[in-house]
């Protein structure tokens, strides 16, 4: 039910009214937050593969934005800013928890050894990538962000974004095998 709700196209790109306008009041924030929360949560899920954790991270993201809402509401593109805050919260969370090992603990290696019985999904394959590479893939290919925008959000150079993006795609291709290799053909940027 919620999956259906969240795949609604309007939620993928929240209304510009919520993303741009605003008078800095709490009502504006609530309206904005309702508009962007589903999309932020999906992005967080793609990053951490855990809906509950994703929800907590989105809550932190929105809470941080609430604190400075008066200033933020005067910005040109609040939606882009929310994305930036989310990815910083995600990276901070990983840094604090030091939980990179979650990846190794998922037992994906066994899945790779049994390609017939268990086919790896793209979401599962994403989990194998380092956090920053995963963020690049999600931002570039799920959020439709330009190389420059990704570089700004993650605070790395555009060259790094390109290199890591290509490397991440190659890794995904390797993980997913022939069946989906074509989907991940070299980036034509």
């Amino acid at each position: 039910m919620h999956a259906a709700e969240e795949s609604a196209g309007t939620e993928r790109h929240p209304s510009r009214a919520a993303g741009v306008a605003g008078h800095g009041g709490e009502a504006d924030f609530v309206e904005f937050a309702h508009a962007v929360a589903p999309r932020l949560r999906r992005a967080a899920f793609l990053m951490c593969q855990d809906w509950h954790l994703g929800q907590d991270l989105v809550q932190i993201t929105l809470a941080k934005m609430f604190v400075s809402w008066k200033r933020i509401s005067r910005m040109g593109n609040i939606e882009a800013y929310s994305r930036k805050v989310l990815y910083r919260v995600l990276i901070d969370h990983r840094r604090i928890r030091g939980n990179q090992e979650v990846v190794t603990a998922t037992g994906l290696e066994h899945v790779w050894e049994q390609p017939v019985a268990l086919r790896l999904t793209l979401i599962q394959a994403l989990a194998v990538l380092p956090a920053r590479d995963r963020a690049i893939v999600v931002l570039r290919y799920w959020e439709d962000q330009s190389v420059e925008a990704v570089s700004e959000v993650l605070g790395i150079s555009t060259a790094q974004v390109k290199t890591r993006s290509m490397r991440a795609l190659a890794r995904l291709r390797e993980l997913l095998g022939d069946a989906r290799a074509e989907l991940l053909a070299e980036e034509r940027a």
Binding site: H2, E6, A33, P38, V102
Partner: protein, 283 residues
């Protein structure tokens, strides 16, 4: 193009997911945001008050120093630092400068001096000190594989065998975590201890390293995290399945020890250095 196809594939896979309801996410964000804003305001106001107090103390010192500077030759800081200064004025500085005498005697100075002695007995926490304390707090059993996290944060791991095979316990110490939680987050169970520490217990059955997580947030802003694993550390091929060697209550009792912190008793730091000179790392 590849870009669209990846997005389609992700959309397809996401559509098969059944995410939990968003619930009161936005309202919770607003509440948390208000708390954060309040904390920030308190800190800002507190910082201002401290700055004002420092300024006033500075002014007081200067004003008092001027008339007492007898001939007016060596005033201010130079005069105050002279070893031959009047005993009445030099008594307080002496307590601070000599920890040995600070621990000693009388009157109002004794509380300040005992605080000085307390902080002197602590040192910056190290993974070795954490392992030393963990070793003391764990129940009886064989121990193995002491390790620290490779990113330099305060997290350690130790395997314990209580007679049914080894199991891994990890402990992390965090300072000033996000505003102390007051309610349970998605699917966790929580309790508040008599000392007002807030404990959150999360089950992550699909993550053997963090099979159960006990996070104790102390009122002083220190967070102690205990990971009860159902597997051992990565051995290069796999995370071998293992026992969960502590109950949640035992983990809470361990986390509730007041010696955990970003500063720990000097004896633990020294003991850790002695007992765990070389540690392997995990990521």
């Amino acid at each position: 193009m590849a870009q669209d196809e990846i997005r389609l594939l992700l959309e397809e896979e996401l559509a098969r997911e059944s995410p939990p309801p968003l619930g009161d996410l936005v309202e919770a964000s607003v509440r948390q945001g208000r708390r954060m804003r309040r904390t920030r305001n308190v800190w800002t106001a507190g910082g201002g008050a401290v700055a004002l107090a420092c300024l006033m103390v500075g002014v007081f010192v200067v004003v008092n120093a001027v008339p007492r500077g007898t001939s007016g030759t060596h005033l201010g800081f130079g005069g105050g630092q002279q070893p031959g200064a009047a005993p009445a004025e030099s008594a307080a500085p002496q307590v601070g400068t000599d920890p040995a005498t600070a621990a000693a005697p009388s009157s109002a100075a004794s509380s300040a001096s005992s605080k000085a002695a307390g902080s002197a007995g602590k040192a910056r926490a190290t993974p070795q000190a954490m392992l030393e304390l963990l070793s003391q707090l764990l129940p009886q059993g064989r121990r193995s594989a002491p390790a620290r996290v490779s990113d330099g944060t305060l997290m350690v791991a130790l395997n314990l065998d209580r007679g049914r095979g080894f199991g891994m316990v990890r402990v992390g110490v965090h300072s000033a975590p996000p505003p102390a939680p007051t309610r349970c987050q998605g699917g966790s169970t929580c309790r508040t201890l008599p000392d007002k520490s807030f404990v959150q217990i999360s089950d992550l059955p699909d993550n053997c390293i963090e099979h159960q997580v006990v996070f104790l947030s102390r009122p002083d802003g220190v967070g102690i995290e205990i990971l009860l694993s159902s597997c051992l550390s990565w051995n290069g091929t796999t995370n071998p399945p293992s026992q969960v060697v502590l109950s949640v209550d035992e983990a809470i009792a361990i986390a509730d020890d007041p010696r955990w912190g970003t500063e720990m008793p000097q004896s633990l730091v020294e003991g850790g250095q002695r007992d765990f000179p070389n540690l392997s790392t995990f990521s």
